[in-house]
Amino acid sequence: MKTASILCTSLLVLFAVSFTGVAQDSGARASFRFEDMSLRTALDSLMKLYPFPIIYLDTDIEGKVVSASCTDCRVDNALGNLLSGTGLTWTVLGNQIILKERGSEPLR
């Protein structure tokens, strides 16, 4: 009985540790404030703040200026704030974050 309870406790602790690890990895948080900054520079900063690969077409962001701020927010909130009003959206493919023009047609 005592052995069974120790085993159950160990499994629970192991599960908790594993779950915490995953949560921390996908839940990296950061704070930023960009004022009238080119979208390119803002994205460069964002890539330094969050450990996720972000990729975009240069033609999609050229000439765009943003102002955004975020306090202790996750990458999804940060991108939502940053890309608001730029005509861009973002999707997640595996570990990869892809920025695209909203409603853009495939390059044919």
């Binding site: 460069d44 990729i55 077409l57 240069d58 493919l93 595996g94 390059l107 044919r108």
Partner: protein
């Protein structure tokens, strides 16, 4: 029985005759000796002297064959000793001056620890030649391809020779990439000197932490600029491709070299596009999925070739 007795009788008869013949010869010799002794009383003494002289001569001649062998063996021994010494000196010389070469093929990376504890990670399709000794005093390596260096500080400069330029540091972390006649040096910590000597003119730039510079073969190093994606640099160490306004053609080439695959671009509109950012480079498929997800295209794998369409 009778025959046996007859045979024995014949044999004994022959032996008796032979003994009789020997006795006759000895008799003749002794009579001759007596006659010669009568003529010259010192004949016996002379015979004795001659015998002694002959014996002495034999004794001096006897060791000759073995003495000859020794004379022949001495040069052979000397030759062997000389050859041994030559080999030892040659080995010592080779050990001091020879080089160690490390190579990686496509899809390969290698982690190397040098004699001074400097750590080098060699990217795919690269070659690092290390001068073996005395490495601690003049630390010098030659690089083709791409490598990330964590140089241990020991007071001696560490030099990376490339086809394009020479990079010199004391102790720092930096990445050197030489592909298609273009050198790129990026510094993660410390300072790095990039120098080129051309037509008697020296040109050098000093890169600080977080800076990078490029230099084409035959040209001089460009002005240092900020290193993008600093936390992930160099991307290949972290399983990522890092691109900065890079054409999709170059991106596909990078995927080809990294994963030893063939990528064809079937859509000509992709040829004019450039991309920026970090691409998941765990496998060729993750990279191509992200790339086509970005452009809105698709890819397929047929007969060993990835085609973007």
């Amino acid at each position: 029985m009778f025959r046996f007795l007859q045979t024995m009788h014949k044999r004994l008869g022959r032996q008796h005759k032979a003994q009789t013949g020997t006795g006759e010869i000895e008799g003749l010799l002794s009579s001759d000796m007596r006659r010669l002794h009568a003529i010259d009383p010192e004949t016996g003494l002379r015979w004795q002297r001659l015998r002694v002289a002959l014996e002495a001569g034999r004794r001096t001649e006897m060791p000759r064959p073995s003495g000859g062998k020794i004379r022949w063996a001495r040069p052979a021994l000397s030759f062997a000793v000389a050859a041994f010494l030559l080999i030892v000196v040659g080995l010592v010389w080779l050990n001091r001056t020879s080089t160690m070469t490390y190579e990686t093929a496509k899809r390969q990376q290698a982690a190397i620890t040098l004699f001074d504890s400097t750590e080098v990670t060699l990217n795919h399709t690269s070659e690092l030649i290390v001068e073996r000794r005395p490495f601690d005093k003049a630390r010098r390596v030659t690089l083709k391809g791409e490598a990330f260096f964590r140089v241990r500080r020991n007071g001696a400069p560490f030099t990376v020779l490339t086809d394009v330029a020479t990079i010199q540091v004391l102790g720092t972390e930096f990445n050197v990439r030489v592909r298609d006649d273009l050198l790129e040096v990026a510094v993660i910590s410390g300072n790095v000197h990039v120098s080129v000597r051309k037509d008697g003119t020296d040109s050098m730039v000093v890169l600080a932490k977080g800076q990078m510079a490029a230099c084409r073969r035959g040209g001089f190093p460009g002005t240092p600029g900020p290193l993008l994606f600093f936390s992930d640099y160099p991307g290949w160490i972290h399983g990522k491709f890092l691109f900065n306004r890079t054409s999709i053609v170059s991106v596909c080439k990078e995927i080809e070299e990294q994963f030893d695959v063939v990528v064809r671009i079937g859509n000509t509109r992709l040829l004019n596009e450039t991309i920026t950012g970090a691409l998941d480079a765990r496998t060729a498929e993750t990279a191509l999925a992200a790339l086509t997800g970005l452009t809105g295209n698709k890819y397929r794998y047929e007969n060993g070739v990835y085609s973007l369409y």
